[in-house]
């Protein structure tokens, strides 16, 4: 029997950008908040002096321990899903601040068309442009409605950047100027410009200067030490929840953050959430935390699994294409981030230096910025060249044809260690009726609860888009003067590697309860006092990195929770749409 704790206004599951923003906003507004985090307590001091590539990049120090729980994966409905067993194949953030602490910092708003993708595509190209089986849909919110939330999150995070020349309307500039550009980034931008494109500096969560955010949190200027992606910043120069919303929540005096607290069920009665059940992972003791509002702000996998284990909502069934929980699994995997690597004989770059979001980009082939009449896909993405700062283990890029080991490998890997650059395409990944999540029938976690199962496969549409991007990247890389240009190959099928953290969907937002689980406040259609926040809400992916959209949605959800606490009821009006798919 779980021990029952004192009821609070709001219980939040997860402490990353999603859970962290909601916790801070409601605590600031005077509500009693309890935030539950499965991982351990972490703060900046834990990262000082640990610039260690092996431990963080190769051994996944900041990622979830998979021994108690992982996911299973398969390509087709007929296949038996197998567990994704190692942290080289499955990276999900853990500990206070979640995956938001090890993010690189690249910050993009999604485009106006991303939020109304289905209707705008039909408007411009006709219904036939959307292939049979593609289940993309409008978000139930427009870019103009999202804009103030993007703006708010960018100010909280102190984003450093310059506006995209082909971007949508902004109410304000980024709060900080762009980062310094390295010669590699300059070369990319100058080349793209010469080719008639519209390059700009990647907007960054690695700060270009010291900054105090509207909540009074102080951040420092980035030192380009290169330990961003997969690392916590030891200098408070990368904006993350540990540097921003978590201290803000704490300062309010209204938010209690409990680490080592693994939420296992959302409790509910008569169509209303009553709280959550969690286990203290150090003692194994189960607790019940009652609350007026429950907010799931965890990684998309966890949000999905918690609803399924708690039997809330209707599980999506691909054979009938009905049901909303688990629908439209999407994200960025090995079909995205493909491009071309250039090897330079006469140039040597200081590639050991860098930052997670130091880079140049262009959106000439993103969204609807180019005419799709003669290409066999819709939407698109950014082209990026980033200088993360190479570690010594990771800087073993060699021209194709070099053996993978032995003296020739050694010779080439040493020679090209500071002479190779890569440009890649970050296209939007569309949703399909056959890509979804549910509970696995065989494999279980340490408590005997079923694991989450992912069914995901590629279509010709995905492969066409990837091929298009690879060609564009290759042209740019050649124009940049690379002596050897190696193009990535388009993978035939999903490889079950869940690295990178860009996995989304399942609890998607929309205007129609038939095809979406949450409304545009991230409030569940079927349970008014349950909000599900994060990448799980994306009906399909945008053509850029997801973090600022998650941050913006969290501000939107926080507003919704407050509105609900004051007024109750459904905050959005359901609109029936023509069923797509």
């Amino acid at each position: 029997m779980a021990k029952k704790l004192k009821k609070v206004d709001v219980v939040v599951v997860g402490s990353g950008w999603a859970g962290g923003v909601v916790s801070a906003e409601l605590a600031k507004a005077g509500y009693q908040v309890v935030t539950l985090e499965r991982g351990k307590k972490q703060d900046r001091q834990d990262y000082i002096g640990v610039k260690d590539e092996l431990r963080y990049t190769n051994r996944y120090e900041m990622m979830q321990n998979l021994s108690p729980e992982t996911i299973t994966s398969r390509v087709k409905m007929e296949d038996t899903a197998l567990p994704v067993r190692t942290r080289a194949e499955m990276m999900a953030g853990t500990d206070l601040g979640g995956g938001s602490v090890h993010w690189a910092g690249a910050t993009y708003r999604w485009r106006a068309i991303d939020f109304e993708l289905r209707s705008k595509t039909i408007e411009r190209y006709g219904k036939e442009k959307i292939p049979e089986g593609m289940t993309i849909q409008d978000w139930g919110i427009t870019y103009d409605e999202m804009e103030p939330y993007y703006d708010k999150w960018e100010k909280t995070a102190g984003i450093s950047g310059e506006p995209d020349p082909l971007g949508d309307k902004r109410s304000n500039d980024y709060p900080n100027p762009p980062m310094l550009a390295s010669p590699a980034v300059k070369l990319f931008k100058e080349t793209a410009e010469r080719m008639g494109y519209h390059p700009f500096q990647v907007a960054s969560g690695n700060l270009s200067q010291a900054y105090t955010n509207p909540d009074g949190e102080k951040l420092n200027a980035c030192m380009f030490c290169s330990y961003c992606t997969m690392y916590g910043c030891d200098f408070t120069a990368k904006s993350d929840p540990l540097a921003t919303v978590i201290p803000t929540a704490r300062k309010s005096g209204n938010c209690e953050i409990r680490t080592n607290s693994l939420v296992r069920r959302v409790l509910h009665q008569n169509g209303k959430a009553t709280g959550v059940m969690f286990t203290d992972t150090r003692t194994g003791i189960e607790y019940e935390q009652p609350a007026d509002v429950v907010v799931l702000g965890a990684f998309s996998f966890t949000n999905n699994r918690l609803l399924m284990l708690s039997e809330i909502g209707t599980q999506y069934d691909p054979t009938t294409r009905k049901g909303t929980i688990g629908r439209n699994f999407n994200g960025q995997f090995n079909i995205t981030f493909l491009g071309a690597r250039g090897f330079f004989e006469k140039k040597k770059f200081n590639l050991y230096a860098g930052a997670g979001a130091l880079g140049g980009t262009m959106s000439d082939f993103a969204g609807d910025n180019f005419d799709h009449s003669n290409v066999d896909f819709i939407n698109g993405g950014g082209i990026e060249l980033r200088q993360y700062g190479d570690g010594a283990i990771s800087s073993n890029h060699v021209p194709r044809g070099t053996p993978k080991w032995g003296s020739e490998f050694k010779k080439n890997s040493v020679h090209y260690a500071n002479r190779s650059l890569v440009a890649w395409y970050t296209p939007a990944v569309m949703s399909w009726w056959h890509n979804y999540v549910d509970l696995d029938p065989t494999y279980k976690d340490e408590y005997g609860d079923p694991l989450l199962r992912i069914t995901n496969r590629y279509t010709d549409h995905d492969r066409n888009m990837a091929k298009f991007g690879i060609e564009k990247c290759s042209e740019i890389m050649k124009e940049m003067g690379a002596d050897i240009v190696d193009e990535d190959e388009v993978p035939e099928e999903f490889d079950h590697i869940y690295s990178g953290g860009h996995y989304a969907g399942g609890i998607i937002m929309g205007a129609d309860p038939e095809t979406s689980a949450v409304n545009n406040y991230l409030q569940m259609w079927e349970m008014d006092n349950l909000f599900v926040v994060g990448g799980s809400a994306f009906p399909q992916f945008g053509g850029h990195h997801p973090t600022s959209t998650i941050g913006a949605l969290a501000y939107r959800a926080a507003e919704g929770v407050e509105k609900y606490l004051k007024e109750g009821g459904q905050l959005a009006e359901a609109k029936q749409q023509t069923l797509n798919a």
């Binding site: 990049t57 067993r85 310094l180 997969m230 993978k404 990535d488």
Partner: protein, 277 residues
Amino acid sequence: MTEPRQPEDTQNGISRRNFMKNTGLLAGGLVGGTLFGGLLTNQLQKPGESTDSGKEDGHLLEARIFFSNSEDFLILSAATERLFPKDDLGPGAIELGVPYFIDRQLAGEWGTNAKEYMKGPFLQTGAVDAYENQEDMDQDKGPNAETQIPTPAVRYQTPMTRGEIFLEGVHALEKTAQEKFETNFPKLESEQQDEILQMFEEGKARMNGVASTTFFNLLLQTTIEGAYADPVYGGNRNMDGWRMKEYPGPRMSYTAEIEAEDFIVMKPESLRNYQGH
């Protein structure tokens, strides 16, 4: 310096010529004196006794803590040296301490799969092979391609831990050497060792429990890691791996260098320097 062994090489099944070639005594002889000194001292030394304790680089941390059988360790060492050989550019795997690096990795959390999902049922051997086709996963793919290990990862569907895979793998290297050349793996000529390693790389060698590619990929991954990880893990000795690549090691800041057009070479520093000891 790198390998605890008896003064008479033949006792351990390794030819002096190959041993010397592998450790670089013939080619280059970069630290020849030190190497011999260390080697001889090691032989005379009683367990627990320390010799060059005053030296920062006294290799006091060097002893096998995973491989209980010294022959296995010699096979491992010989294999790593073929994957990352000594040449004009600098030391190879043995001189960099890679075998000890691997030994320690296997003794710890990673080698025991402490943080991996190891619950059954497991898809058994024959069917496992289909998932070990590494062609789909190369270093240039994936959102964190820049930070990924440079060797192909394979899907892991076996109850064996990495430590167990390494032991099986080393035994399989030896068995293959016996079958093919009727000689111990460490005693073979370099070309013969390469031939065997290539069989493992291509999945043509026979192993128990996992495909030989699985072992080969782990071996290659850890060899590269051992050459380039921070020296605190026992490899990349003297930061010589970093020197070859002109990699400066962990630093507080590159703000002064980030805009520089010319390549800047710095003397490498390790975590030991960075953490201020």
